[in-house]
């Protein structure tokens, strides 16, 4: 789900039609969610989204697998898989 954009319309029916024309007429969408601006909850508080402490341990990139994999291969006697040729 991705923000497609916004439309101005006098009611929800026309908003839906305009959303379809602006964001779907070139077959770039498979589904549209149309909501009133007033119904959008805006969460922009940096303390809730970008806290100051280090959070790198929550990202998968925090774990380096390369060395562990190499050791495991050596132990089992398996060669490193070759890049697949086309």
């Amino acid at each position: 789900m991705q923000h497609g954009g916004s439309v101005m319309a006098p009611d929800r029916e026309l908003a839906t039609h305009y959303a379809r024309e602006l964001f779907g007429r070139r077959q770039e969408s498979v589904r549209l969610w149309v909501v009133r601006r007033a119904d959008i909850v805006d969460l922009a508080d940096p303390d809730l989204l970008q806290p100051p402490l280090d959070r790198s341990f929550k990202k998968p990139g925090g774990y380096v697998m390369r060395d562990k994999l190499a050791a495991a291969r050596e132990l089992s006697g398996q060669a490193k898989p070759k890049a697949r040729s086309r």
Binding site: M8, A9, D11, E13, L14, H17, Y18, E21, L22, R25
Partner: protein, 254 residues
Amino acid sequence: MRVAGPLATALGELLRSMADDEFVIGFSDSEWTGIAPLLEEDVAISSLAQDEIGHAAALYGLLGGLTGEDPDAIAYDRVPAAYRHCRLLDHGRGDWAMTIARRYLYDTADGVRLEALVAGSWPPLADLVGKLAREERYHRMHAAVWLDRLARGGDGTRSRLLAALATLGPDAATVFAPLPDEAALIDAGILSLPMADLEARWRASIAPAFATLDLPLPPSARDPARGRLDHGEPFSWLWREFNTVRAAEPGATW
């Protein structure tokens, strides 16, 4: 199914009438590009107009396959009197209420016509109609939303819609003007019902919305046999408009 002789002529007339309808309403609606009542509607009506030109191109393609003519030549190189669109589309663009009234009347009638063709026995047309119907459903939704808005609107909005319906209403049923030799199409299973029956079906389909909005139902068409003939000055003007580029350099490849 092989189509030849009188049946081919009758089928050609049907294709020509449908293609010209889509071509003319497409060009009329494209006149809103840049000046529609609001920006979003500008995109919507322009896109819808493009849909109609696309439908016309597909129908002219089928007709060209039948007659051996170039579809572009059919679309552009006839004199105005040789076009077979219905008189409903001969009033010029008019204001937004005229456009919505025309779209509503035409789209609902076209929907009934497509329904009568989608299970037809000539596969090229039945297949195409199945695709057209999927796009036309959205056109009807768009027209219905706007008809509702205008009918319930104040400050001269409703009165403009009533004026538009008074102008267009008497020609609305010309979408169902009898075709030359439509009996041949029915015998061959290409068209499911005579145009007169389709008109009755269309009237029944729009009656609830017209009752809800307290709008006058279109009267019977005057001189239905000439419903696709006698195009007036507004069409001559449109014809010159849509022919400008092609006429600028006949035979040129653009």
